[in-house]
Symmetry: C2
Subunit: 311 residues, 2 copies
């Protein structure tokens, strides 16, 4: 079993099963990568909110890869073991007009920069301390369908899945679509809640190491994964959560309402502006479907860990 | 502050703000209740699956109450502190034709009886041990709209919210709709996952004690709550989770697909029949919205704690 360092210059911006492999490996091999943050450096530590609408969307999601895994065939599962995830010292998150769960409510660009240099936590001024829980927002294999595919939406091939529990120690299984699998990853987040409600996690450059394997003929329909599923911090079950709800016949509307009500609460209880509250919701709040069977009304809950306010 | 025992005969089957109070209390008071399981005894420890379709839906959700809280006015929040929850020794869950997230896939009635006598866990044969985590599936105030309302769907007044984390130590806040609030509760579950996917939790008779309070003029739009948000057991983050996904433009379809894929996995990995797997999903699996912003495809994940298989 070999270890490989993937050249950080080997990136691509679209899913496309005709791309030449950046690297060829065997099952069992480990690959070490580093990727730029989601805009490929268009947003940097000095960027202002006004720069967000100028971001060139043809240059977002710089993905390390594609990695060709010998012997991978359609119908197999590609196993991706997440060995390590190390954010650089800086990250950002913000509001991108036109995107995000509450794009109707938040029309202006907004940005926050985050100091990740202690490697464990990051601070929202003196108001909240958020434990880091890094993962790659995007991990996928090349889709079966030929041609270029925009890399924002995820699919059964994986991609921009934004699953916050794909942390160190987790293992992702992806349904191989084309021979060699052609795996790519990037879009790293230092932390994010279930939902990624404002459309940005804590976006940052990151080094990560993955071990690849094959489960022959697994016949997966979509990604599956094993995870420790850790809460945001060990203090969560001690400090507990405050949760809001949205109740009604549409899960999407319920999710929006639950987040709107959390933004209201963060303003009243913690003095956060709507913009900062929305950002905090995206970084630390979790969307859960509490009930999806009591027709005609479903209930979506949005949980905020109270430990982040214990400074 | 007084303590009250609510007469177990004081139940009702519909939400209706014209009902006479079963009890009048002051803010700060504690009320001790006991309710029958969700069918009000139509299903008992000896019931067979064939009895499920004969259940009279006019007699489901026997709710303790209504409890009139002095001084409660529309616009206030009724605070409900959950002091204790003690299931009786027996419970059931099952498949009710026509109801449940996968009602298209499961057309026949099915039932499992569960031994709750040790007070801590319950067993699915020798295949899984599920820690108990009791709560009242239904807690609500009388809706503002006059007349009788079926008690299956929840609403902004609360009701059949089926929020699995309203366990001992949690505190629920409900938006008062009518003077006196007219609170009722029941539909007790010894354990249930986020989603309650097969439409039954672990349905059981239960004793519970609640402390009531008022937050004047809180102006809630829908229920909110404080909770420890505990995982199913302390072993969860050690044993971890296996999770399936559903990816696409419709949250409901994604939820269905994620549960279908978990049922497949429970069959392959743990030898469960589809019916038992569906029941286990309802009792122990959690639906999460991992990503709701990467248009046009959202991602719903369904997490199964692996600790339940460590026997």
């Amino acid at each position: 079993m070999a270890e490989h360092q993937l050249d950080p210059g080997k990136i691509h911006f679209k899913w496309n099963n005709a791309l030449d492999p950046a690297l060829r490996i065997a099952p069992g091999d480990v690959v070490h990568c580093w990727t730029q943050e989601v805009t490929n450096g268009q947003i940097g530590p000095d960027s202002k909110a006004e720069e967000i609408p100028t971001v060139d969307f043809d240059q977002i999601y710089p993905l390390a890869g594609p990695i060709h895994v010998d012997g991978a065939e359609p119908g197999d599962a590609l196993s991706v073991e997440i060995l390590s995830l190390e954010p650089d010292d800086w990250g950002w998150n913000g509001i991108i007009p036109g995107l995000g769960l509450l794009s109707d409510d938040f029309g202006d660009p907004y940005i926050r920069h985050w100091d990740l240099s202690d490697g464990q936590t990051t601070r929202l001024d003196d108001r909240a301390v958020i434990p880091l829980q890094p993962f790659c927002g995007t991990m996928g294999v090349a889709p079966a369908e030929p041609g270029e595919h925009f890399n924002l939406p995820p699919g059964n091939f994986g991609g921009n899945v934004d699953i916050r529990h794909l942390n160190e120690g987790a293992r992702l299984l992806l349904p191989v679509q084309v021979p060699g699998a052609l795996f790519s990853a990037g879009d790293c987040h230092a932390v994010q809640g279930d939902g990624e409600v404002c459309v940005t996690g804590l976006e940052c450059p990151m080094s990560f190491s993955l071990r690849f394997g094959l489960e022959k003929g697994a016949g997966l329909a979509s990604p599956t994964f094993y995870t420790h599923g850790s809460p945001l911090s060990r203090h969560d079950t001690e400090a507990g959560y405050f949760a809001t709800t949205g109740v009604g016949p549409d899960l999407m509307e319920n999710a929006k309402n639950s987040v709107r009500r959390m933004i209201d609460w963060l303003g009243k209880e913690h003095g956060l502006s709507p913009e900062d509250a929305y950002l905090l919701c995206s970084l630390a709040g979790d969307l859960k479907i509490s009930e999806i069977v009591d027709a005609p009304n479903w209930l979506v809950s949005f949980y905020m860990p109270l430990g982040i306010f214990r400074r």
